[in-house]
């Protein structure tokens, strides 16, 4: 009986999201807070270190949030606090794990360093797989850089942990459907080729200079060489479906000029999205920072298959420009959920709904991934405001 009720709830939530993705009007505006585990952990009284090492604590934290905030329509990306044991087996050195590495207490932190040099582009282009496996991984993970067989043993352990971590969350997803009627939004992950190059290989400053110093061909060829791997990253172990979509956080675009974007960023990024859609996947792109300069490009993406989530953007403008192509999401300012009053939260929620919801194709969310300091009271006001103003 209870299970039936939950399955019905699941269908209801799923419908709401899928209709929005297909640019139709659901019964009400879906609400999916950009939560990756950091906030639910704090809300349930755990530290990030606790939940990074004990997955069951993180699952319990999510379940508390599902119970207290039944207005949520999906768990955004439940396991993006990653796996502490996996990182430790590999001996990661460039990710400061919360609770383990000094300054990082409330969120894991990326050390902004470069681990590929300017003159290694040719090697990357010639054989990305070999280069990543043999050069980059050992530089980023000290255990994987040790002589054989220690590196192989470390790799084996880390990979084993990776699989059991994936398995754990796969099973949780199924359990949450039955017990809470709660869908999980992120079905898989990947990155735009150029973002992978910037984020994980060259680094922000170094790559910025590469764009000005290196021959254009070098950058373009590197992105093209990475593209098949970015597609594979998304499709490995996932099932093609509109829902749950593949999650693609986008990083470098807002920081570069429209010319640069057109030449270096867009071509391989568009190919990535098109390929995934052709294979039968839905996609959620997270346009982090401010995408205003490049907004119109998104009109070229496949219709009704893509959620475009925004940090800073004029939603009214976005609705006008690309609202008939992608489902809009995001933008409620984080600080409102920390310092905001009931009235301010209601006002902004209503404003977003007025601007972006008419005709469908809109999912309510906030501008930044939640950290520990989102105020539960503000979360409550927000949930109620969505229910109050979000009915179609």
């Amino acid at each position: 009986m209870a299970e039936n009720k939950n399955l019905k709830l699941y269908e209801e939530r799923l419908n709401r999201i899928v209709k929005a993705m297909q640019l139709e009007e659901p019964d009400r505006v879906p609400l999916i807070p950009p939560e990756e585990g950091y906030w639910v952990a704090a809300y349930a009284g755990y530290s990030v270190a606790d939940v990074t090492y004990d997955y069951s604590l993180l699952a319990a934290a999510w379940e508390k949030a599902f119970t207290d905030f039944p207005e949520w329509d999906a768990a955004y990306a439940p396991f993006c606090v990653w796996s502490g044991p996996m990182f430790e087996f590999a001996g990661i050195t460039q990710f400061a794990l919360a609770g383990k590495d000094g300054a990082a207490q409330k969120m894991h932190q990326w050390k902004q360093v470069s681990c590929m040099s300017e003159d290694e582009y040719d090697e990357l282009i010639a054989d990305p797989y070999k280069f990543l496996l043999e050069k980059i991984l050992p530089r980023r993970c000290k255990e994987l850089g040790k002589p054989y067989p220690r590196n192989a043993m470390a790799f084996g352990k880390a990979f084993q942990e990776f699989l059991s971590w994936l398995g754990y969350w796969g099973a949780k997803g199924a359990e949450w459907k039955e017990k809470f009627g709660m869908p999980v939004l992120a079905g898989g992950f990947t990155e735009a080729p150029i973002d992978f190059l910037m984020d994980h290989l060259r680094g922000f400053k170094e790559f910025s200079l590469d764009l000005r110093k290196l021959p254009k061909e070098t950058i373009i060829r590197a992105c093209e060489a990475l593209l098949p791997y970015m597609i594979k990253w998304a499709t490995t172990g996932t099932r093609p479906a509109l829902f749950p979509p593949i999650f693609i956080p986008l990083h470098f675009a807002p920081f570069i000029s429209p010319d640069c974007f057109k030449e270096f960023y867009w071509p391989t990024f568009k190919k990535l999205v098109d390929s995934l859609v052709e294979l039968g996947y839905g996609v959620i792109i997270y346009c982090e920072s401010n995408w205003t300069p490049h907004l119109a490009y998104l009109k070229e993406l496949p219709k009704g298959k893509v959620i475009a989530e925004f940090e800073t953007i004029d939603m009214k403008e976005a609705k006008k420009l690309i609202g008939d192509t992608v489902c809009l999401m995001g933008n409620l300012p984080y600080e409102l959920l920390v310092y905001g009053t009931k009235e301010k939260i209601e006002d902004y929620t209503k404003k977003l709904i007025d601007e972006a919801a008419p005709g469908g194709g809109f999912i309510m969310s906030a501008d930044k991934i939640f950290g520990e300091n989102v105020n539960p009271k503000c979360m409550r006001y927000w949930c109620e405001a969505v229910v109050k103003y979000g009915q179609y």
Binding site: A96, G102, A103, A104, Q105, K106, M107, Q109, W110, K111, Q112, F204, K205, S208, L209, L211, R212, F255, I256, S257, C260, S289, P293, P333, Y334, E335, L336, V338, Y339, G340, K368, G371, E372, N373
Partner: protein
């Protein structure tokens, strides 16, 4: 516009290097060279604010300015370069991100500020002590994550407690800062852009 200023605005790295060396050989005063470069950097900042230049251009300009300083460093010590003001800069406690902070630093220096950089994950006490010792005009606090909100609040609270709040202006910068955070923490200015940050610092000096 002066040739050297123009070359900087156009981000012609090699040309700039050669011109600076030529000027030195010609015996041009270091102050004058630096001034021309500063003018160029100021225009780069304006272009960034207008959306004509983006972050790679700003970073490139910072690199060019650094290489100019390297060239003239031997003679710089004797020259009396007049700074417009002194900034103590830090990424606040519990945050280790420094790319944004460093971009701001380079840009502030190129605009004539003397910047005392305390690095990342800097605790409030260190910042308070540095204010007492260095007597800056401005304190710049950087962060990349919202988790650093309370570090910003704490730091400013400690500055108040120590009784030195009146001696400095405080600017907060980084992707998650907002007017709300500014008001809540009691800072004087907030920005998500390095170029605007330098502009705000100049205005703060006048207050």
């Amino acid at each position: 516009m002066e040739e050297l200023t123009k070359a900087i605005v156009e981000l012609e790295n090699e040309k700039v290097t050669k011109m600076v060396k030529d000027e030195l050989v010609k015996g041009t005063a270091v102050e004058e060279i630096v001034e021309k470069c500063r003018q160029g950097m100021e225009i780069v900042g304006q272009k960034f604010s207008k959306g004509e230049y983006f972050l790679p251009e700003l970073i490139m300009a910072g690199e060019i300015f650094n290489s100019i300083i390297e060239i003239i460093r031997p003679v710089l010590a004797e020259a009396k370069t007049n700074t417009v003001g002194k900034i103590v800069l830090a990424t606040v406690q519990n945050d280790i991100h420094d790319i944004g902070k460093n971009v701001f630093k380079g840009f502030a220096e190129a605009n004539g500020f003397d910047v005392h950089d305390l690095g990342v994950d800097v605790d409030p006490e260190t910042i308070v002590n540095t204010i007492k010792n260095e007597k800056p005009d401005i304190v710049g606090l950087s962060c990349l994550l919202t988790s650093a909100f309370d570090s910003i609040e704490n730091t400013i609270a400690k500055i108040k407690e120590a009784g030195v709040r009146d001696q400095v202006k405080i600017i907060i910068g980084g992707a998650p800062v907002s007017e709300e955070l500014k008001d809540w923490s009691g800072a004087d200015a907030a920005t998500r852009s390095a170029a605007e940050g330098v502009q705000l610092c100049k205005e703060l000096l006048k207050k």
